[in-house]
Assembly symmetry: C2
Homo-oligomer: 302 residues x 2
């Protein structure tokens, strides 16, 4: 079964970087990623610039990137206005976001889970009329920084409501990276009773170094084949300063292929893109592969 | 089942660091590790200083470390002379080393596998007379930088010869970090037909980010409970410059406990030891936990 990597570095990754990233760097990053074989890139977010100033240049990034026919360029949208902006910018897929933890959702978007899902109704209708596929993020699906462990039933309830609303794909997020392989299995045991595995993406963060083991558990044990990842493990965690972000695309591709998975992504090209974007923002990639390939360590450029 | 972590940072880790490490730093590192709950620390190596100048101070380190009754302080020995030095220094366990790849063994110690095992005969006898437990490393047990993939039968053959010789424990090494979970299973399927799992330690390197997933596969699937690890992921890989070294003790402890394992190691104390020793040698730990805990990132000291 082919594994689908959704590259979220330009959005989830850069949004959580401490440094402000120039638009030129973002465009070059997306363009480099377009040549790596990833089938989908989350380019930016059409939330209010007041909320996420790091992504205030969403329109400009969408306008300036080079589009590959082999890649779906998606965007996060918080509401109907965000969807309008995304459509005008030529986004090819939209994503809405809620949490499995009430407290987290309230602190994040100042609404209950039910309220935030209600806000997505016009987004789902608009996306459908425009023929745009819709993804629904369910964050804090395992642990919440405020509530602690989140039960699988809570995640299932949110997931089912999003599917009823018309979401095509769910992205189940380990927002603070605290899930372990048994917890991933516990959730999938419950979630996949009602949800087709082909609609489920796992969005793993590597805060505590468990993301790769979790992906292997989900893929080998449950046939999950869609994984979100960010080149170089870009991003951080607002709840653990100094922590790494999403699982690194190049490391995830490497382990899945080494484990027998069919992954048509060039991990060296991803590592190269990660080395370039992190150099531009003054830090180093968090991935193991970028370490192996890094020029800075005397190794040849991948 | 209690998980046993063998901390190999002071030996395998520091031996492969580019920087020369002052004896004071090594002693402080071992002393810090003695308070973390790890039951065994590989302190140094009594190989010829001509081969491994980084560990030429083995006697001095052994003399100066503070000994905890809860910790076994072990040393690598290449031959009978090395064992004499180790005994004189008060090592409490000895380890011999060979490879599963003929080419690797020839390039590493200039002898065939059979010849190097023959050299261990007097070491095994000496250790037995002295009442010292003996460990046998089998490196390149999955992949060899010269030969490529190594078959499980080759590893089994070397393992059985070491056991015949009187080795109490085998440490099966993924020297270049290229093993994937299915490869770990393939080897254990063969090896554990003849070898009690209680005698098997896994020695995983995180070169490509697969070490944690491999440990989980071995522990969950086969009941392997002994794992080598180095604080901060110290060490490197002579075959991949810029690569990380052994799996980081603190990350391994975290994932095993989060997965339900009984691990009496304080991962914060390990991360602290890793932050101190890497600061002293001018780099940063490769572990995810040290990132979370790092002062340098504004987070409180663990």
């Amino acid at each position: 079964m082919t594994i689908r990597i959704v590259e979220v570095g330009p959005r989830d990754g850069l949004q959580n970087e401490a440094a402000t990233v120039p638009t030129d760097v973002k465009v070059a990053f997306v363009d480099a990623l377009s040549d790596t074989g990833v089938p989908e890139i989350e380019v930016s977010s059409f939330v209010s610039p007041k909320w996420v100033p790091q992504l205030a240049d969403a329109e400009e990034v969408f306008r300036r990137i080079r589009r590959s026919a082999a890649v779906v360029y998606s965007a996060l949208v918080p509401n109907a206005h965000g969807l309008e902006r995304a459509l005008a910018a030529g986004a090819e897929k939209a994503a809405v976001f809620t949490a499995a933890s009430e407290t987290f959702n309230r602190r994040n978007v100042n609404a209950s889970i039910a309220e935030s899902i209600e806000r997505f109704r016009p987004v789902a209708e608009g996306a459908r009329s425009a023929g745009l596929p819709l993804r629904g993020y369910v964050s804090t699906a395992f642990h919440c920084p405020y509530e602690g462990p989140i039960g699988p039933e809570a995640v299932r309830a949110v997931a089912l409501r999003l599917l009823e609303l018309g979401v095509d794909e769910l992205s189940i997020g380990d927002t603070i990276g605290k899930a372990s392989p048994p917890e991933v299995r516990r959730l999938l045991d419950v979630l996949l009773r009602d949800v087709d595995v082909g609609r489920v993406a796992l969005h793993l963060h590597d805060t505590y170094g468990m993301a790769v083991a979790n992906a292997i558990a989900a893929w080998e044990g449950y046939g999950v084949t869609t994984f979100d990842a960010s080149a170089g493990g870009l991003g951080g965690c607002p709840y653990a300063k100094g922590a790494t972000g999403n699982v690194a695309t190049e490391d995830l591709v490497f382990v899945l292929r080494a484990s027998g998975g069919d992954v048509a992504v060039d991990e060296r090209a991803v590592a190269r893109a990660a080395l370039d974007v992190t150099r531009a923002i003054g830090r180093r990639p968090a991935s193991r592969l970028a370490g192996v390939f890094s020029e800075a360590n005397g190794a040849p450029r991948p």
